[in-house]
Symmetry: C2
Subunit: 364 residues, 2 copies
Amino acid sequence: MATAAARTFALSAPLPLDNGQSLDGVIVAYETYGELAPGKDNAVLVCHALTGDQYVASTQPLTGKPGWWERMIGPDKPIDTNRFHVICANVIGGCMGSTGPASPAPDGKPYAMRFPVITIRDMVRAEVALLDGLGIERLHAVVGGSMGGMQALSLAANFPARAERVLAIATTARHSAQNIAFHEVGRQAVMADPDWQGGDYYGSGHSPDKGLSVARMAAHITYLSETGLTEKFGRNLQDRDAKSFGFDADFQVESYLRYQGSGFTRRFDANSYLYITRAMDYFDIAEEHGGKLADAFAGTPARFCLVSFDSDWLYPTAESRHVVHALNAAGAPVSFVELSAPFGHDSFLLDVPALDRVVKGFLA
Amino acid sequence: MATAAARTFALSAPLPLDNGQSLDGVIVAYETYGELAPGKDNAVLVCHALTGDQYVASTQPLTGKPGWWERMIGPDKPIDTNRFHVICANVIGGCMGSTGPASPAPDGKPYAMRFPVITIRDMVRAEVALLDGLGIERLHAVVGGSMGGMQALSLAANFPARAERVLAIATTARHSAQNIAFHEVGRQAVMADPDWQGGDYYGSGHSPDKGLSVARMAAHITYLSETGLTEKFGRNLQDRDAKSFGFDADFQVESYLRYQGSGFTRRFDANSYLYITRAMDYFDIAEEHGGKLADAFAGTPARFCLVSFDSDWLYPTAESRHVVHALNAAGAPVSFVELSAPFGHDSFLLDVPALDRVVKGFLA
């Protein structure tokens, strides 16, 4: 396991937001792995996904589980901490130390639903402010999968001088109607829970765990492939020889989903789930740049690498190809590979050796 | 619109169930369209899907909307009521007049969760009892889409002498892990709603509308194709020129889903949703017949027609093909067509002229 440093950075200036307001007193919680070179030219910013956090390669303090990308980051790993200084920051709106809906507003009470609706670009603005604070002018690379890939693309589009390389995995430049639809189900599940209390559940002794669990269950299905679910669970029964003719979790897949749902509520804040899914649904890089995706990347000096997975139906290969075509139109150097892996969208987090080779090669 | 007859049939004997119990006093609510021939040889049993009902070709009394398959059934339509006597029964476990969880148990109070967990085969047993009551020994055809197709296949497997033709559309012989997973999300959403009250909400003045609405929203996404959602809604905003930076239904797809969810709660009983989804998840014809699907259809004299849609990801073409292979192995005459239609699973309900031609031709 790589060494970890628990750190926070307080922005010195208000953070301007896409909604037209700005946010005072923003804190960004982050972790780093590996040494920053004297020339500060070896930094790799890794951006996390919807339910991820800054503990990319060190133990998550709430769950005690390994970091979510330990297989990718560490000494002699594809993102080699003997060589690179890896930075991973909790997104604003999140719940692992960066300013979010559970943070105190100027009146001392939690923001709850008074927190502004943020965007992926706002998250990136906070990350760039952190880089400014760390004195890192130019990243060796920005890397991310899923929502992390959205941040990587947004950084390239909005701060084109800040990264030499952009590696975007299993992601998209815009949320589709189906993507929005699944997120809306999750938000409605949270908001339907009376323990949500309009978002003002902090300190009440209750939180909308049931609603958040249902939201997580629905989302989790979208992270896996139909084939993967069939291979892993099929119609196998859970700890029984016959159906119960009841409403217990007869099937392993039911038991698994319930476990995923309830486990999630112990480490994630429901309001953060609302805000971050909203940011993802609002995501449309082309719209931010006059409606043409190629214009978003015009003039960027960065090199790009896009990776998709053939079993990913959340952000299917066509979405990556759409980005690649725009980068081609913008004249940016880009490589693109669709990898074969059975795990659906979650492939970017799992044992896909071909991905390791792509990541290692692109960062070299 | 075809003529309708509001009818119920009371079973004279207890209905044996797959759980080993039997159910007394079962009522089957049904509708018919077209005249029964003197030889009683022109009956077509149409089986409805999860949230359908017996009002297949006449106005649904709760919603005032046209029957769910009026485009298919009526004079000179593909299922021609000038020629055929069409019967459609509300499934047991349902909530449109057939015995279900909202019906009174022997103690006079609603069954609620005391209702037995039923199966697709149990639904078919009730339908066969209805046919017995009507004096119909042999159907010209049994027809259904989605869960209706499951009933059609189950009737062929378990009562092989009762239908000359079996037309199963957009369906499967077993529920996959992903199918079960989506249903489990829906059930958990209902059960997480405190107004569910362990199922004893009848007469309380409250019902788990929020949970049922979330369940319906999640399910509804699975009925549509990603392409169809993109074509219909894309990222279009709802009644506004710009994003609200709030949690209103900014996007048309959000507004549409909320409407689908809330509308559903006005016509459907939440406990029925639990029981019927459970019956679908338990569905596995092969398992009922020693583990080999071909054995389920051995010796059936019926002719079969299977139809799938290329955009249906709920019950994709591979599931129909699996049934066709089993029918081939059983030596049953079967025709099979995958139709191209953009509407996803819901294609069987929508304007797909090629389906009309298949249905008309197969019943001729």
